[in-house]
């Protein structure tokens, strides 16, 4: 919607005004994330820009908080715990979710609406309610304060994302391909491995990434269900914000921003690949 050359002054003002307004909104979206990155290199233990930082004096910057992060057993344990919980929950969610998506996208699936509703429900129910319910139930069966408890809870939260992404890939899936494989003598398992799996793989991987980030970023369930042994990165940030405020959490935050950039790029590349494989025009 480029501005036509014959546009009047009013139209011109409106056009540029609108662009400036949009620019401000983009600024609102990005500024908070960008503002914390330089602060994580602050020499001072404050959350504010010092005079040295503003004049770009090297003395105002340091890797102090990154060192504090690397040398802190609490943070290193948190990373380890986040990875243990995230990877295990993702594996469970991806395997079960992919199987279920394959079943759900079959024409013959009975009670599809009801079952879909039940399976998606962990995504809809407010986290505080899930956390409360799981806290009561998991304590009564002795799973509260254990890794299996947190992993099962996170796996339940992650499955809706796997189902949604994999069913979305299966929408464009040409079922005559598996029939062709079968007619050429492939067993259902071979047909799945050689034909179906490579085609739905982008959906499976992006679903797995969604499930992983859900677990990796999840805090409410962890607050209620996890013990000291299962403190994850968000849990450590939570106490960092509430109790001992130190720029170490800004260093962690910066690392997490880099992590989400990597994740965003992966998802975008997967999406393009999926569209190419399914013969859709690249956007």
């Amino acid at each position: 919607m480029a501005l036509p050359t014959y546009a009047g002054p009013l139209e011109r003002t409106w056009y540029y005004g609108f662009r400036i307004f949009c620019g401000l909104i983009f600024f609102f979206l990005m500024a908070p994330i960008l503002v914390i990155i330089p602060l994580s290199f602050n020499v001072q233990p404050y959350f504010t820009y010092t005079r040295e930082m503003l004049t770009l004096d090297p003395a105002g910057f340091s890797m102090r908080w990154y060192n504090a992060f690397w040398n802190s057993t609490a943070w290193m344990n948190a990373i380890r715990n986040s990875l243990i919980v995230g990877v295990s929950a993702t594996l469970i969610a991806t395997v079960l979710g992919t199987l279920a998506a394959l079943g759900l996208s079959r024409r013959e699936m009975p009670f599809r609406g009801l079952i879909m509703g039940l399976l998606i429900s962990p995504m809809i129910v407010p986290l505080i309610i899930s956390a409360a319910g799981m806290f009561f139930f998991y304590s009564s069966v002795g799973l509260a304060g254990t890794f299996p408890g947190v992993i099962l809870a996170h796996a339940a939260l992650g499955t809706p994302f796997v189902i949604i992404t994999v069913t979305a890939t299966l929408v464009g899936f040409d079922h005559s391909l598996t029939r062709a494989a079968a007619s050429l003598g492939a067993s259902p398992a071979t047909a799945f491995r050689k034909i179906t799996m490579p085609l739905i793989l982008p959906g499976v991987i992006s679903g797995a990434l969604f499930a992983f980030i859900t677990s990796f970023d999840e805090i409410v369930i962890v607050l209620f269900l996890a013990g000291v042994e299962q403190r994850t990165i968000p849990r450590e940030m939570w106490s960092g914000i509430r109790e001992s405020i130190s720029p170490t959490i800004l260093a962690v935050a910066t690392i997490l921003v880099m992590f989400s950039i990597a994740l965003l790029t992966t998802i975008e590349l997967l999406r393009r690949r999926s569209e190419r494989l399914r013969g859709m025009a690249p956007q």
């Binding site: 919607m1 409106w14 609108f18 949009c22 979206l29 990005m30 908070p32 994330i33 503002v35 914390i36 404050y46 959350f47 820009y49 199987l99 279920a100 079943g103 759900l104 079959r106 013959e108 699936m109 009975p110 609406g113 079952i115 509703g117 399976l119 998606i120 429900s121 962990p122 809809i124 129910v125 407010p126 986290l127 505080i128 309610i129 409360a132 319910g133 799981m134 009561f136 998991y138 809870a153 339940a156 499955t159 949604i164 992404t165 970023d217 805090i219 607050l223 209620f224 968000p234 940030m237 939570w238 914000i241 959490i249 800004l250 935050a253 921003v257 989400s260 950039i261 999406r271 956007q283």
Partner: protein, 409 residues
Amino acid sequence: MVTADGVPLKIALARAERRRRLTAFLLVAPLLAFIVITFIVPIGQMMWRSVDNPIVVATLPQTIEALGEWDGQDLPSENVYAALVSDLVAAQANRTVGQLAIRMNYEFSGARSLFAGLARRGDDMQAPFREAVIEENDRWGDPAVWQILQREGRPYTAAYYVSAVDLRYNDQGEIERQAPNQRIYVALFLRTLALSVAITCTTLLLGYPIAFLLASLPMRTSNLLMIFVLLPFWTSLLVRTTAWIVLLQQQGVINDILVWLGLISNNGRVLMIHNAFGTIVAMTHILLPFMVLPLYSVMKGISPSYMRAARSLGANNWTAFWKVYMPLTVPGIGAGAILVFIISIGYYITPALVGGQSGQMISNLIAFHMQNSLNWGLAAALGTILLVGVLILYWTYSRIVGIDKVKLG
């Protein structure tokens, strides 16, 4: 007609069809079992807890049975008092008096010491028990206490819901409104609704223009600008909340800039965090992508020729937008607004960190009753009310958008 092995075609077909249905179901079954056990059952159990009332009847079985014959007017008979003493002595022996006292304290203040005191002294008491018990604490001579005991001696209770909506039982056992200084929950539900509406409005106000811009720019540019929406979406929630604390706090970046610009004095730094304002700003930022993405996908599907047709028929820019483009985006507005509203109404983390007093929402109180006051029945009742609200909204959402058409990223 028969198949090659002699089975009638109709039966063979039905059998094949049944086998296919079974295969489909077996693929879904593991996850269904998993979700039911790890998620549905816990939620159901929590809802159950909001009406479940086992403690009183389990700790005072004889008393509750004897109270069954009481007419509720005068003081109960001697054998009710005798049963109470005997129950409390037994409860003292197996250490269940504590939870009974806590449970009854939800119903009236002073119940804790009333029950615990009698349980301690019960061993030395002699008949007639009525006089002895009333002498120990004269509140046992108050029929209101016995009415509460009779009411809460049932295995199910509505008491948690009664307190969750700021009602209470008066001395006659009728339901009335809480004293004005005791009313918390209705006001908090209303504030949660008000904050959610405010957040929905600000996300719509900010989300609509950029969704419009993204949908109308050429693909290359809009893909680039989309990163500005998607990066916050993918960034950890706690990182974004931390960022807003850094920006908004009194010694924070925005206040520093305002002081440096000379707009405010160093002593007059603005309070922007730990209040409703902080909650709204931070949550608008966090939920904006949930508004932009559905709006964008609807706007992407609107052909630009509609606007051109409107212009060629003599509409000015504004009329063309308002009469033609805007109505076409209503499904997107509805989807985005309900999505943002559903998410914000149950939000916990951000209000807990930046909300202070005035920015607290109902989930924060549920967490408080779960972790601090340990009134789990009340937490469950508040949670159930919230859950029912969200499910109704979600049902509306799925009527508008469709349950499996939720777009991600």
